[in-house]
């Protein structure tokens, strides 16, 4: 079911809040990416709340949060929603993949995928890691993370500018012939 962005955010906060409390109680896991405000995007959200939570959970498995931020800290859902808005074939692909993932979760563990603990989620994803669906969500998760200022900083130790990937505009690396100092 498609909802407008504002309605989606409101609903998501409520649902995610409830889910968050449940999950935290069970395994201390969060879905930070669900709550990221879309940046400059007015695209209607194409996914329902359960799908949003599942996407966020899969993304957090693909780039887990460690001592450094992971996919949970950037707007993966928003990015995937944008991709699905641009390419109509993606939405059914996502919906089928997520439904299948949920079905497996319920058959094996009795609850939805996003409600499972980290290790159980990981074991279910290993079963589908060679699938087309997993390749797509992996690609989109990497796009969202490593093109974001957060991901670039985690990878390179440098802060991206508005037009440059690794530095503020026109600043560059005049010390390129020297051993990195940071």
């Amino acid at each position: 079911m498609s909802v407008k962005r504002r309605e989606f955010l409101k609903g998501t906060v409520l649902v995610a809040g409830a889910t968050y409390a449940f999950i935290r109680e069970v395994k201390g896991h969060t879905f930070g990416s669900v709550l990221i405000e879309p940046q400059g995007s007015a695209d209607p959200i194409l996914f329902d709340t359960g799908e949003v939570l599942s996407i966020a959970a899969v993304a957090a498995q693909i780039i887990p949060t460690t001592a450094h931020p992971g996919a949970a800290e950037v707007g993966v859902v928003v990015h995937i929603n944008s991709r699905a808005t641009e390419d109509a074939a993606l939405l059914p692909q996502y919906q089928e993949g997520l439904a299948s993932l949920d079905k497996n979760a319920k058959e094996q563990f009795g609850i939805a995928f996003y409600g499972l603990d980290f290790n159980k989620q990981q074991s279910l994803l290993k079963e589908i890691e060679d699938s087309t669906f997993f390749a797509v969500i992996r690609r989109h998760t990497l796009e969202a993370f490593y093109v974001s200022p957060v991901g670039i900083f985690v990878a390179s130790g440098h802060r991206a500018g508005t037009t440059h990937a690794f530095c503020s505009a026109n600043e560059g690396f005049p010390d390129v012939d020297k051993k990195p100092t940071i």
């Binding site: 390749a135 093109v147 130790g157 690396f173």
Partner: protein
């Protein structure tokens, strides 16, 4: 169809070929119109170093069918005034003397219709126009040396380590030539080493005919028409090129009459234009009496070696290619058991999004561990001489048409066994260099086609074995010319852009000096 006032020369394409040619013609006083399918980018506002955004902006959404080793859609070279020079790495170098007589010396491809020495003055002019930075001495003995106007760039830290590996193995290497300013040159700034060359240079330190040629050409009267998609070269009743038909930015069909027409677009699109312009007099396409239009398409064999050091090297800093070069293995060595050779060019680590996929579809903590090596990684490219085959070619695909109903191009290309052998050894030698440099985790991939297409409208002395003569003039139609990498009849392992600019200068001079004959 809207008609335009007749000009002396109509050039299709505004990249290295169209840019250099248009300036040479304008300097001789000819009236020139340049048709460019893409927009005129504003470097400060349009070049965004975002790998999700910029490649899409640069890519012309024109279908190209592929069969052979690769199937599906081909990435198109970038469009816009400047052509591929918007996204090029700006690695440059003169071809080797032997490249000009490859058939005679090595039985491969075809000889050029002129010698290296004939192109030297035009190479020098091209180096000055582009502001090449590089060594004027120190290249490997036995190999040609350019005459760059700017000093070489310092070796980047990652490449200082890699050079130690080459030195240990006795492989000569040096700061390579790039068309990127090492100092302020002709009003353009020195490189700031931001690392984003392939997504456009916002400061103009990297050469691009949009800033190195067209400003002067326009002052001299050249008219550049962006967003103009050429679909046909029309002929007159005497079998001479009469005009170019194109769709303008509003989709209005226009006709530009000219005394002389030049196909100077991309290596894939120029044969397509000639083939799609077939008439009853030229039923197999224009200038195709030899049957060679589209044939002899040749890539430069690409490959990449990566090595991870114990220390951070931040190999993403600096321009993307050829800060360190070696042509030590360029020439054929019969002891290696295959034809051809390769060039080593140190390359950038690239963007994290690309690096994340370097070791397969990793995810989870495996991916996190891999990405923790990003700052410690160095990279080296190999560019190999590919087997030249007339079976590798561009044709038109009647089953795939563009929005105007014009058949798209089809690329048929297969690597040879020789290509695989060459690529395998090149990568092995590169891995040895990284290991000698102290890298612990070393891996490579290839062969790939690289980004450079050569051939397809080859030049030569014999009209039955080539499409044009040594001045890019088609054998069949005296006022139809070709300029670009399509002319190159053999294989090389050096980026062709400097040579394309040299050819543009040389052919421009020829046209200007012989204008009365057209």
């Amino acid at each position: 169809m809207a008609q335009n006032e007749k000009v002396d020369v109509c050039i299709v394409g505004s990249g290295a070929a169209g840019g250099s040619l248009s300036l040479a013609l304008a300097e001789a006083g000819l009236k020139v119109v340049v048709l460019e399918v893409g927009p005129w980018w504003n470097p400060l506002t349009d070049y965004i170093h975002n790998p999700l955004e910029m490649p899409g902006r640069f890519r012309w959404n024109m279908p190209v069918t592929q069969v052979g080793d690769r199937v599906g859609r081909a990435p198109h070279s970038s469009w816009g005034v400047g052509g591929g020079m918007n996204h090029w790495t700006a690695a440059v170098g003169r071809f080797e003397e032997e490249d000009f007589k490859q058939e005679t010396l090595e039985g491969m491809g075809a000889d050029w219709p002129f010698a290296y020495a004939d192109l030297v003055p035009y190479y020098e002019k091209a180096e000055a126009q582009l502001g090449v930075s590089g060594s004027t001495s120190g290249a490997t003995p036995g190999y040609v040396q350019g005459n760059p106007p700017n000093p070489p760039h310092e070796l980047f830290y990652a490449n200082q380590l890699l050079k130690r590996g080459f030195d240990k193995l006795g492989i000569p290497s040096y700061s390579g030539s790039v068309a990127i300013n090492s100092r302020i040159y002709k009003g353009r700034p020195a490189c700031n080493y931001c690392g984003g060359c392939m997504m456009g240079c916002p400061i103009g330190a990297k050469a691009n005919t949009a800033i190195t040629h067209f400003p002067q050409a326009i002052k001299l009267g050249v008219e550049v028409r962006p967003r103009s998609y050429a679909t046909q070269i029309r002929m007159d009743s005497r079998g001479r090129a009469r005009s170019v038909v194109y769709f303008d930015a509003q989709g209005v069909e226009q006709e530009q009459e000219a005394t002389l027409v030049v196909a100077a677009g991309w290596t894939i699109e120029s044969p397509r234009l000639l083939l799609n312009s077939a008439t009853s007099q030229f039923p197999d396409g224009l200038a195709n009496s030899s049957g060679l239009v589209g044939r002899g398409l040749t890539c430069i064999l690409g490959g990449r070696i990566r090595g991870t050091y114990d220390e951070k090297v931040d190999g993403f800093r600096g321009f993307n290619l050829n800060n360190l070069e070696s042509r030590h293995f360029y020439k054929t060595d019969s002891k290696r058991g295959y034809w051809g050779g390769w060039t080593f060019e140190a390359s950038s680590t690239g963007h994290p999004l690309s690096y994340a996929n370097q070791k397969g579809p990793l995810w989870g903590h495996d991916l996190v561990r891999h990405m923790a090596t990003f700052r410690n990684n160095g990279a080296l490219s190999v560019w190999g001489r590919a087997t030249v085959s007339l079976d590798n070619r561009v044709t038109i695909d009647d089953s795939v048409k563009d929005e105007y109903g014009i058949p798209a191009a089809k690329i048929t290309y297969r690597f040879s066994d020789n290509d695989h052998k060459l690529s395998q050894e090149a990568r092995k030698r590169g891995e040895e260099a990284f290991e000698a440099a102290g890298a612990k985790d070393v891996w490579s991939d290839g062969p790939t086609r690289g980004s450079y297409w050569l051939g397809g409208l080859r030049m030569g002395s014999d009209p039955t074995e080539s499409v044009t003569n040594g001045h890019g003039q088609t054998h069949d139609i005296p006022n139809l010319f070709v300029v670009g990498p399509m002319l190159i009849p053999g294989a090389v392992a050096i980026q062709p852009t400097l040579t394309i600019v040299a050819l543009g200068n040389r052919i421009g001079e020829y046209i200007a000096n012989n204008r009365q004959e057209f």
